[in-house]
């Protein structure tokens, strides 16, 4: 019986905490480093797109590069 009560208490606790709002563990004022230029994923989009095109035309794999390609240019 005690085990059931303990399990029920754990379940209730889980549900209650699950409904609580998520508090960001990195506050907005702590994101100074993340906002610097060197931390950007795609600092120069034109360059990223060109390199993705160069590689996709010579490799069998494609995708998940964050760049849109087009055309063939694959001689």
């Amino acid at each position: 019986m005690n085990t059931h009560r303990a399990l029920l208490a754990c379940l209730c606790l889980t549900l209650v905490t699950g409904c609580a709002p998520i508090h960001p563990w990195v506050k907005p004022y702590e994101r100074e480093h993340l906002a610097t230029r060197v931390m950007k994923w795609d600092r120069d989009p034109a360059s990223t797109a060109f390199m993705a095109h160069v590689r996709e035309n010579r490799e069998g794999a494609r995708g998940a590069t964050g760049a849109a390609g087009g055309g063939c240019g694959c001689n």
Partner: protein
């Protein structure tokens, strides 16, 4: 004002400035439009007998507080002869590819809607793509989820050499659909993680109209003959990439990423990439160094040398489908040329990127040496490529 009062005022001002900067930096991570900038670039690829060079222009501009438009135009002038063309005895080509695109990003609260269209034309290939994506910041802006879809319509032609006029009797189509998922997660104040996954489904004419397979003239023969390639009419591929970026104590950024790829043609590929970016000269310059390793297995219907022209239903000798690997080293330097407080010009910067790529094939042989070594005994093909990009960027 006496000395202690001045110190207290200065201290308050510094605290306020730091707080404002940090708040601005925080909001810059999430729910913002792309930078307003214009890039004018010249770029070149030179390797494997082919040289591709030409200009490209990209402009991104906010039209309202919530909307940003972008437009791009690029020209690739292709010249030279690849190993496939040399084997076929074709003369070196000189052709041009033009690509233009137009896009819009619309920000509504923490959601960014993006749409774009893109068209690419060349002598024997036209490609049109329409894309749409939704990006949502959530969980205190620590997480960004992006969902995207795009559809492409390609037309494949064959040109007559040397006139480069399209053969009117040859026109094939290929369709492409891409579904994308991207998740970016702030892990700590110095570490960020991203996961990207693309599923691409293609159907139609997925091969090159000129390329041919080669097969032995007889059992054990060292002579070969050529025949038309035949590809499956569909291909579905999945690529998943995991990326990490870390802000170092030296104010630089170290990055690492891994991508796994597989498709219904039984190609499996692994890509590993590491990089480091370091601001120099009071942040007026950024130096980047990257290393990338790529490795793939061959497609199920690929062979360098078949036994007969009817050995199997699907047959290909495209080196893109061969087992291969490449290693590349990249160096980049970006430097500020001018900074102003004018609203139409905040900064002018220049950038130079150089990549050296070493391609090596495990089952694609140099058929130009078949006379010397005999078909199937030629050395494995390998070549090196240089990629150069030089561009000016205006921020406004």
């Amino acid at each position: 004002m006496n000395e202690p009062a001045m110190k207290a005022t200065r201290s308050r001002l510094i605290r306020t400035a730091v707080a404002v900067t940090c708040l601005y930096a925080g909001t810059a991570v999430a729910g913002t439009l792309p930078d307003e900038r214009a890039d004018a670039m010249w770029r070149m690829y030179d390797g494997g007998g082919i040289k591709v060079q030409g200009p490209s222009v990209l402009v991104r501009k906010n039209v309202t507080d919530n909307a940003s438009i972008n437009a791009a135009y690029a020209v690739d002038q292709v010249s030279g002869a690849s190993i496939d063309m040399v084997v076929l005895g074709a003369s070196p080509l000189r052709e041009e590819r033009k690509q233009k695109s137009l896009g819009i990003d619309y920000l509504y609260g923490k959601t960014t809607y993006s749409a774009s269209i893109q068209a690419s034309t060349e002598n024997d290939y036209d490609s049109n793509t329409a894309s749409f994506s939704i990006s949502q910041d959530m969980f205190g802006d620590l997480t960004t989820v992006k969902l995207g879809v795009s559809k492409g319509w390609d037309s494949v032609y064959r040109v007559e050499v040397p006139s480069l006029v399209r053969d009117p009797s040859f026109h094939k189509r290929a369709d492409r659909r891409t579904w994308s998922l991207g998740i970016t997660q702030v892990l700590t104040r110095n570490l960020i993680l991203a996961y990207d996954q693309d599923v691409i489904s293609e159907s139609g004419y997925l091969q090159n109209p000129y390329r041919e397979i080669r097969y032995r003239l007889g059992p054990g023969s060292l002579q070969f003959q050529s025949a038309a390639e035949n590809y499956p009419g569909t291909r579905t591929s999945t690529a998943a990439a995991l990326k990490l970026k870390y802000y170092t104590p030296w104010r630089g950024a170290a990055s690492a990423q891994y991508r796994y790829f597989y498709d219904t043609w039984k190609i499996r590929a692994n890509t590993y990439e590491v990089g480091y970016s370091q601001p120099l000269r009071r942040d007026s310059m950024i130096a980047d160094l990257t290393y990338r390793h790529y490795q793939q297995g061959h497609a199920s219907f690929y062979s360098d040398l078949f036994d007969s022209p009817n050995q199997q239903n699907y047959m290909a000798r495209d080196r893109e489908l061969a087992a291969q690997s490449n290693n590349s080293v990249g160096l980049a330097l970006s430097f500020d040329l001018l900074k102003t407080k004018r609203h139409y010009l905040k900064k002018l910067s220049g950038s130079i990127h150089y990549d050296y790529i070493m391609y090596k094939f495990d089952d694609f042989r140099d058929a130009t040496q078949a006379q010397t070594y005999g078909a199937g005994n030629e050395p494995l093909y390998k070549y090196n490529a240089n990629v150069v990009q030089a561009f000016l960027t205006v921020w406004f």
